[in-house]
């Protein structure tokens, strides 16, 4: 698998596992950052635009419910709904995996992992993020286009009044109209 320009955030409490994930992913993604707890999650997400998050499900020794991971998943999505999350756990229950996927995880990796499977899951998650972001941009463009169209119709094709109604300059409206091919 060739290296991509993706950047990945690893959230894992075990330092050895954290380092291992960084090494395993290092050859395949441009940048791997790792944090040790969910407390640092939002800070890391704010500092860098990541393409995927690899998130451990259990942060407390003896805790195997995966509740912490599901909480982290919700927090990532609250911060950035487009960012795809791969969950990982050593205590792999089918039920837990199904639950995680239902709550919007992109994939589910069991520890110990095989490197190629981990890389595949993370790469696919990054692609999902890209697709979602592209979709979001498209939606934004479509929104803008339909707003301009509505304004133009309402003002019977009068560019000046439409620009005033949209709260932008005439020149800016011309630029946007040519971008949308209107």
């Amino acid at each position: 698998m060739s290296q991509t320009s993706n950047s990945v955030l690893v959230v894992e409490d075990d330092p050895d596992v954290r380092r291992t994930a960084q090494v395993a992913l290092g050859y395949h993604v441009a940048r791997v950052e790792a944090v040790e707890s969910l407390d640092l999650l939002e800070g890391a997400l704010a500092a860098t635009v990541f393409d995927a998050v690899l998130l451990d499900m259990n942060f407390v020794i003896g805790e195997r419910s995966g509740a912490a991971g599901l909480d982290g998943l919700a927090r990532v999505h609250a911060f950035d709904p487009t960012l795809a999350v791969v969950l990982m756990t050593a205590y792999g229950g089918v039920t837990l995996a199904v639950d995680a996927l239902k709550r919007g995880a992109a994939d589910f990796v069991l520890k110990p992992w095989r490197n190629d499977k981990l890389v595949a899951a993370v790469t696919a998650a990054a692609q999902l993020t890209h697709a979602r972001r592209k979709q979001e941009t498209l939606q934004l463009d479509a929104l803008e286009r339909s707003a301009i169209e509505r304004a133009l119709t309402r003002h019977h094709g009068n560019i000046s009044s439409a620009a005033i109604a949209l709260g932008i300059s005439r020149a800016a409206l011309y630029r946007r109209m040519s971008k949308h091919g209107l």
């Binding site: 075990d14 050895d16 596992v17 380092r19 291992t20 994930a21 090494v23 395993a24 050859y27 003896g62 195997r64 050593a90 205590y91 792999g92 229950g93 089918v94 039920t95 069991l110 520890k111 110990p112 992992w113 095989r114 490197n115 981990l118």
Partner: protein, 466 residues
Amino acid sequence: MDSRLSDSGRFTRAVAVRAVIVAGLTYLAIQLFATTHFYATAVLVAGVAALVAVDMGSVISQAARAAERDLERLAIEGSDVPTAAAMSTRLGFSADRAAAVLNAARAERLRQTDFLLGLLDTVTAALFVVAPDGKVTLVNRAARALAATAVADFQAIPSFGPAVARSLLALAPGAREVITLADGQRMLASAARFAAPGHALQRLISLQRIAGELDAVELRAWQDMANVLAHEMMNSLTPIASLSESLEQLLRSNQEASGAVEVIKRRSRGLMDFVERYRAIADLPAPRPQIMAVAALLSDIDRLLAPTFLEKHIECRARVEPPDAAVNADPQLLEQAVINLLRNAADAVRDSRPARIDISCRTDAEFVSVEIADNGCGVPQANRDQVFVPFFTTKAGGSGIGLNLARQVALAHGGQLVFRANEPRGSVFTLTLPAANAAALKSASRDQRSSSPEPASAAPAAAPRE
């Protein structure tokens, strides 16, 4: 009624007449003696009075004797109303009431006996009361079901077998012991001794079905421990397995180092395979039971395994009795369990000629038992306790999870899976599951009639020509 009245009246009259005659004659004799000098006549009259008095005495004592006989008969024969009536005819007094009191007491005693016997029948443990000569004097319903035949001689109960029966009879009072029945079921046996008035010293043997409860507890404890161990193991294994893969790529130029890393990688892969097998049995999904016909299940499985059986020259026959036997179980889990048992049997008969697997099915009110018997290599005595131990296997390349998984499926349904040796060779696995009644099955299959096969066909499996 009339005759009774007249009978009782006759007795009263006879006594009264005689009493009056005796009184009259006595008075006459006294008068003759006191006022006249006819002493001889007076003596004669007194003599006649005495004779009548003797006669009256004999009438009374006759009636008393008859009454005594009647009472005896009443005591022996029980609530015999004609006897009571006859008695009251002879004795005018309230014999009816005496009989009624006696009968009520007896009825009360019978009611109490019925109540106690009924109570014994509700006890889930099988109870046998055994006399010193080995004869069974009392059993409850569970014991009758366990013995399956009419119980007379304790040692002759077929479901025990002579050896188990002997050890049960030898149990010291108060002792408890886990025994294995002829069909492989495990039970907790305990013994007590008691003396009832008028009886010799009796022995009470109680047998409690324990497999389900005990196995479930054992299983949960094992799973809890294994889960903690596995979690730690997997966390530690993660860097070893992953880093050795990464290092191998890094060290491609250095042959010695990459050879060393290759070993680490290989061994950690081995551990990972083990972990993956472990996951298969540690995380059995909770069963979603539905009512399903045993015959349909077996014929589905047969379709799946028939090519394998044909190829390996294994004759597999199934007999479902009754043909509409149905269980309340999760179809996927149960199918997996039966497939595991059949695969195990197929492996066992690999070197048998002819190779046979017999599937039979029995039902009682609560449970359906599916028996899978083979004439294969069997399990050596030393390994019999380990048949269901996870990861235990005697086969090269065996995973040791098939039978354990099947047993977990049985336990998850509130049933059980037991093993016993087959005669003359091979193994028998008995899978017991909660029964669903036939009516429930009919209403359940009404919606999905299309796929339900002929129940009586009972999966006639591949029968090679060899």
